[in-house]
């Protein structure tokens, strides 16, 4: 019986790939210009710390984290689907990609939310106050 791939259509995966792709354009630009600052003065720790203690910057970096992870891993899974044909192996790939996503997300969230360490509590308190 021919596998028609019914069910997991891929409409949402396709749609969110486009959506995240569009979001990534401005976010990556801002990220590159601020975090990969190649101008003369380099990237002092204090500058990064100052920026990341601002909740708006944190929200931006967290958005970047989620959007980039989704876009990258969803794209990777789309490519894998072209090469991996056995349903069992596909499920394995899907699980590994999802797991990688979750682990990287956890690392990312801890890094962004908890940076800079000394001001962790303060910044959490800041972003919690309406």
């Amino acid at each position: 019986m021919r596998d028609r791939g019914i069910g997991s259509g891929g409409a949402l995966a396709w749609f969110f790939q486009r959506l995240t792709g569009i979001l990534l354009v401005p976010i990556v630009l801002v990220h590159l210009l601020t975090m990969h600052n190649w101008t003369a003065h380099g990237l002092p720790w204090a500058e990064v710390a100052a920026r990341l203690s601002n909740p708006y910057w944190k929200v931006l970096e967290l958005t970047f984290l989620v959007v980039a992870l989704y876009h990258g891993l969803n794209g990777l899974y789309a490519v894998l689907q072209d090469y991996v044909r056995r349903p069992g192996w596909r499920l394995t790939c899907y699980s590994l990609v999802t797991l990688a996503g979750l682990v990287l997300l956890a690392f990312g969230v801890v890094t962004v939310v908890g940076f800079p360490r000394a001001e962790l509590l303060q910044s959490v308190a800041q972003s919690a106050t309406p």
Binding site: R2, D3, R4, G5, I6, G9, G10, A11, A13
Partner: protein, 233 residues
């Protein structure tokens, strides 16, 4: 004028491996590739096998790979190509013999998208199901498909994925989905909105380059996607 043709030969009943055979023949200025193949078959080697019927680009029988590009043998002119002309069967279909391929998978995919008008509304009793000229115009670029398979066999996703419907079937689906008289989107969803339907296309655009009728299957696929997404949201 002498021209050299390097032709893919394979007879699964006898040959272990495909091989290429070279024929140098006298051709006329105005000949198509099909004329040259006929000349070879009729005067040089009667065992050369290929499919053709109408010899004027309408039946879709004679699609093959000519110097690496899918085209209709009966439309491609010998004079359009310089040097040796290599002729091979359409990629990714099982070879029956020489340039003749088994297109069953291609037609099975076509059947899956239900390529006919699906209408629940009963037709008017006094006239045909009419359509405005504007609505009819929307179908231009879809109905001209002659089902030759040049696009589908040029698609890398189709080469690699046994279940992908391929550009021809998807363009045909779009031809009906875009038809103002058709009410069959639901009936086609199972095939279209699947892992092997519109979402599998990677917009490689090979199909657009391959189509001998200058149609744009990728555009049809993208419009189908838009329709499916707006249907979902």
């Amino acid at each position: 004028m002498q021209r050299t043709f390097r032709i893919f030969r394979f007879n699964p009943a006898e040959d272990q491996e495909p091989r290429y055979e070279t024929f140098t023949i006298e051709v006329q200025e105005s000949w198509t590739i099909l004329d040259a193949l006929n000349e070879i078959k009729w005067r040089h080697d009667g065992t050369l096998t290929y499919r053709r019927s109408c010899r004027h680009g309408i039946c879709g029988s004679c699609a093959m790979m000519i110097n690496g590009v899918n085209d209709l043998a009966c439309e491609k002119q010998v004079a359009q190509i310089r040097g040796t002309i290599t002729i091979e069967p359409l990629k990714s279909f099982p070879i029956v013999r020489d340039l003749l391929v088994d297109q069953e998978r291609f037609f099975e995919n076509l059947r899956l998208v239900k390529p006919w008008l699906i209408a629940r509304t009963p037709p008017p009793t006094d006239k045909e199901r009419l359509q405005s000229p504007e609505a009819r115009k929307l179908l231009d670029g879809t109905w001209q498909c002659i089902l030759c398979g040049a696009c589908t066999s040029s698609c890398p996703v189709f080469w690699d994925n046994d279940n992908f419907l391929g550009p021809a079937a998807l363009l045909k689906a779009f031809r009906y989905v875009a038809d103002s008289r058709d009410e069959g989107l639901d009936a086609r969803l199972e095939a279209l909105d699947s892992k092997y339907g519109v979402w599998r296309c990677h917009t490689v655009f090979n199909c657009v380059e391959a189509c001998p009728k200058a149609l744009n299957p990728t555009d049809g696929i993208v419009q189908l996607r838009r329709r499916l997404i707006s249907e979902k949201l």
